[in-house]
Symmetry: C2
């Protein structure tokens, strides 16, 4: 079994949305969905741009899809062949995870169309496609290829004022409606056959028509190159696009691209032996996270659905810091740094949001877009019965987001030993986040205790709760991180003094010192931590009972109106997430009690859930369950899993949080990796399905290889090797 690729036979238009995601090519700058070259909107093709957002009328803001410059459609003897529209004899498509190359082959009868393509990892503005047509009869092939401006959008259109230009290089440019960002794309071709070329344009784009008489058995090979630039990247997007004609040929570009991917895998690949399905799932998983990493940018983060489309508004969630960040900080700290720089640069947005709610400090956006702008609205769900928007509280009450960012900032410092990120704004972020919690705190006048009331924890089904254990613990960590800065900068007191002065922080520092010990600790019952005040008073019933109360399968489960909101059924790991993030606070017995209590009460209705349960399951030796959760998590972007709907809102796409979660389960769970003063330690918990687990870790300047294996006698042995 080839654990490095995944392919499917046959074509089913009902699966088109899923296929577009699981056969995604991406390079951090853009994502090219896995639709066939000839696809019209109905098959959801898209080139989704990272960090370029637009709002159309009062619809949701979402990322912009560029015009599709790899469009190609073949006609033979006057008849057009397109998947979905015309019958075909056979179809196959697949993805090579090792090198990020998509390929497809479709036998339409008289002709076969074959392609392979990639979004170049080293040249992030480039898409390349080797498009081949084989004739099975004599006749005339016409390939219509060019730039399609007929773009699929969820909440579009976003591009206006198109200008299309013909020539050696086809170009299209347009501007976004809201901010007038210029988006330019170009297309250039090289071919190994003679053809009469005409160029045409209409409201659907600008195209070449390549007419070529063919003999039976003849293969036409067309190499298509597309470039994408926006005015956010460069001053002259259109000129840069034109440069596509100076590129070396397809093979050279592909070699360069493959080499870049080899480099990524050298830094990050987890090799496993013992289960090929699992090995492939992990490759898929790591591919999907690696391909959306912003390697081209010093300050950029990763949307919750990667670059697989416009789902979730292309926004940055806490997923970035808690679920994506661990793989990167342990393997590719440059990417981790970019993720955090994005937060440092968007601090002004967080200060603004806090002020909007009457607080001080930094309250980061729940769904952060460019500049830290809040993409989350007050209405995120549509009621299935009334079709009215439902007020949700993700935007205003999920206050743990600021502490999540601080958690990652501190992890970055502790794992890499690199203090510069703190110096270059990270420390200021930490202080402003702590200040936010100070001003958000609800102090009891009589006891001096501090509640955090009216919040939402990771389990979004329970809105507006008080003293969510996870949130309070994260806040405590945030305050501790703020107060710990003076220690980190003990050798450079001027740095902290300057910051304290700049932020007028003296009084807040004193208040934070006092608040730190007064934050309400969670209640427990037989070692089970109450998720929030009053959770144990909710109806205690089974997941099945709750599901049985649904009147419509698309109903939203959460909030007071949802079937779960008034019960102990939770959406995802919450207390368990706390146990996973703060392992040293809790004994194994604590973990055991809480796992046994919460797991059956968890719907796992989020890709953020399984990984936390699996990590804690490893710790307490529930390896069978950890394995099941790992397989579910790792294979999510192969089988296509997870919820497709929240109320009436489509939420499909890839699952970078699961991808990051799969890495965490394997590395932090099965191998039990912990960094201690910059040196990896392992505490293996190898499931019976695995024989061996090998992966690299980067810590500061040093690189290590972790190797965990089961001997023939059934013992687990391991090595940690520092690489030269």
């Amino acid at each position: 079994m080839d654990t490095w690729s995944y392919s499917i036979l046959g074509f089913d238009p009902a699966r088109a949305a899923l296929d577009g995601s699981r056969f995604l090519c991406a390079n951090g700058y853009m994502g090219l969905r896995g639709a066939p070259e000839e696809a019209g909107r109905e098959l959801y093709p898209a080139v989704t741009l990272a960090g370029v957002y637009d709002q159309y009328r009062d619809k949701w803001r979402e990322p912009v899809n560029a015009p599709h410059a790899l469009f190609a459609r073949t006609s033979f003897n006057g008849k057009e062949y397109a998947l979905g529209a015309e019958p075909h004899e056979a179809h196959r498509c697949g993805l090579d995870y090792r090198h990020g190359v998509y390929c497809r082959e479709t036998d339409f009868g008289p002709v076969t169309v074959r392609s392979e393509r990639f979004a170049s990892l080293p040249l992030c503005h480039l898409l390349a496609d080797r498009y081949q047509v084989t004739a099975h009869e004599d006749g005339e092939v016409v390939i219509r290829c060019g730039i399609s401006t007929d773009i699929w959008d969820i909440n579009g259109p976003h591009l206006f004022d198109f200008r299309l230009d013909e020539g050696e290089v086809l170009t299209a440019r347009a501007v976004t409606g809201q901010k007038g960002i210029l988006v330019a794309v170009s297309q250039y071709v090289q071919r190994d056959f003679d053809a009469e070329e005409r160029q045409v344009q209409d409201e659907t784009g600008v195209f070449r028509l390549l007419h070529c008489p063919v003999k039976k058995g003849q293969i036409l090979t067309l190499d298509i190159f597309a470039a994408v630039y926006t005015s956010l990247d460069v001053l002259d997007p259109l000129e840069r696009c034109a440069e596509v004609r100076h590129l070396t040929g397809y093979e050279a570009l592909k070699t360069q691209h493959a080499a870049a991917w080899e480099g990524v895998w050298r830094r990050s690949e987890i090799q496993i032996e013992g289960d090929d399905e699992a090995a492939r799932a992990l490759h898929a998983s790591q591919y999907h996270l690696n391909c959306v990493a912003p390697r081209h940018a010093l300050s950029m983060s990763i949307p919750a659905r990667g670059l697989s489309g416009q789902t979730y508004k292309g926004a940055i969630f806490w997923d970035s810091e808690i679920f994506f960040f661990p793989m990167f900080v342990h393997t590719q700290p440059g990417v981790a740094r970019s993720l955090l720089r994005y937060r440092i640069e968007t601090l002004p947005g967080a200060l603004k949001k806090a002020a909007e709610y009457g607080y001080r400090g930094a309250f980061y956006a729940w769904e952060s877009q460019e500049g830290g702008e809040e993409g989350c609205t007050n209405f995120n769900v549509v009621d299935v019965f009334t079709h009215r928007p439902v007020r949700t509280y993700f935007r205003d009450k999920q206050i743990h987001i600021s502490a999540d960012i601080v958690y990652a900032l501190r992890q970055y410092y502790e794992i890499t030993g690199d203090r510069t990120l703190l110096e270059e704004g990270g420390a200021e972020v930490i202080l402003q986040c702590a200040r936010f919690y100070l001003s958000r705190a609800n102090a009891h006048l009589d006891t001096g205790d501090v509640d955090f009331a009216d919040v939402i924890g990771p389990d979004e089904y329970h809105e507006r709760v008080t003293n969510n254990a996870f949130t309070n613990r994260m806040i405590r960590h945030c305050v501790e991180s703020a107060l710990g800065l003076k220690q980190i900068f003990a050798d450079d007191p001027g740095m902290m003094d300057g910051l304290m002065k700049k932020l007028d922080y003296e009084k807040d520092w004193a208040l934070l010192s006092r608040m730190y010990g007064r934050i309400r600790a969670p209640q427990t019952r037989d070692s089970v931590i109450e998720q929030f005040d009053g959770y144990f008073r909710l109806e205690d019933c089974s997941l099945q009972t709750v599901r049985g109360r649904l009147c419509d399968p698309k109903e939203y489960w959460g909030g007071d109106h949802g079937v779960a909101g008034t019960t102990e059924i939770i959406k995802q790991a919450d207390v368990i997430a706390m146990l996973a993030l703060f392992p040293e606070d809790f004994s194994d017995a604590d973990v055991r009690a809480n796992w046994a209590y919460y797991e059956p009460r968890t719907e796992h209705g989020s890709s953020l859930s399984a990984c936390m349960y699996a990590l804690t399951a490893c710790r307490i030796g529930r390896l069978e369950e950890a394995w099941q959760l790992f397989m579910k998590t790792a294979s999510i972007d192969i089988v296509g899993g997870g919820k497709q709907w929240a109320g009436e809102i489509y939420i499909g796409g890839t699952h970078p949080a699961s991808n990051g979660g799969a890495w965490m389960i394997a590395a932090l769970g099965f191998a039990g990796l912990r960094m201690r003063s910059g040196v990896p330690e392992v505490h293996p918990r190898l499931p019976r399905q695995l024989k061996r687990l090998t992966f690299p870790v980067t810590a500061g300047e040093k690189r290590y290889v972790i190797d965990v294996r089961r001997t023939e006698s059934g013992e687990t042995e391991y090595s940690v090797t520092e690489m030269g």
Copy 2:
């Protein structure tokens, strides 16, 4: 026009629930619904007992309906005549508000049934009915009369283990299911005709069968007396019931009853000249409030739907203190005292409720039943689409209830000058309520300001808001009242010292003194007070728009899921209620600005709304609007108005809050009555519809008559006369 009675012609079973309420006879101890004597369950007959509650299984706790001992049904020549079941030629029924006497007359063709009945005001356990049958042909009349145990309940059954006894007096006794309270009723008759009497009993009750041959034109008069006692009243309910046979006859009892009502009117009647409709509406309104006053009990309050049935669980709401209390405290302070004593005696329930939520002090029940037990559940609405119960927050977040009680306690002291109620527990209630707010306060660590977060104000459509202006103002008043106690008892420092010691209050006193000035004042915009933090950021749309979004007419408007919850549309007076209760805090210009803003945004979906708008309208001279609101309020229990449904829950019945509101509008609004150091002052605002307004006021030992009239030249003149 007779402004003292109301009657209707014809019978419509679809109107039976309404008629049962508007033709209610009650005396504070019990309410006898205005159904015909022969009514079966389908016409909603009931004898609802004040202060006797029961819960059946997991249904709502509600007041108990006693067996119906005035049941009577006539047969003539073998055929039974019953309204609703048999056709009739003519029907009329009515209520004499002056003396609380119901009468009906039904011409069934061969016989006419006529009755008049009352719930005795001086003898609160007694019901009496003069039942007359006129034969229009020769033949035989059989009257079946006795005790029906076939009881209508909303959430019953509540009575079990029935024991029925025949004899000179028929008796029935049973016990409630939850607490085993014994309920006994008896029936005794006197008749002016010879009859053969047999007695029968079956599962529907115990009855006399009176057989009597009649001649055409003969009238049979049967006087029926029923007694009701429970084991909460006396040790021997059944023996006391048997005493019904020693009573003097119907006429004497009626005379005594009428005299008692004359006494009530002497104390409370508002006479108006100029509009007979209004005069009658006011009589109806005052009747309905006076008839449910607990004159028989030293410590009892009035349910939100009076004694007209089991709606709203027969519970005591803030209606008692804010809407019922003003008429009583100004006219019949003994009743006002009983209402407040109920709160003093139920303090333990309020302490328990606060503790249940993790607070100290007294958090009174939102829907208080006996002993202050909370009758309000977490689910008060049923969703019309899913038929699932909806989590509402009335129970846990409507914290103004404790301050409402303090408001009335202080009013009682200020108007009556009577300090004994404070001495006998009232002061302790005030201190415990203030302590509750102290422990419920959310202090900002940095600014020291105090929020009250996560509350519901009077406008229940907006749940879980922060710094509701009304609530914060009421809390400030409560704290001020607590801190003012030392002044009131300046001549008796031992009293306060003892209390402070008993309650271990020193530290809280200091904290309250500090908190008092830090409670967040409301935001304003162009003098308009923001109802709560963020209200002005809600969607500002018309009532019509919001109503247009309903997908089902029975939908609940409130909460995040309701059509109003995310808009500025409110259920009832909220900011305006604050202006009405604290007139001296605000200028006329403030009232004008707020009235103009809030009135168009108010659904008036509660009987608690109109009166507050009318009171403030009087102040700013919007007399036409005040008059319309007055007429709507005063006539509600004649025309039957108000919402009948909240979600799928029936909420019909009489409207004591409107009744009390009508008194408030007339006395406090039109006459502008204010008590200053125990002496009435008037500031008349006579609407053009009125020529004269006259009413008595009691203040301590003194009684006054207020007389406001318009002279022929259009001037308003008035007099305040102290009566000897």
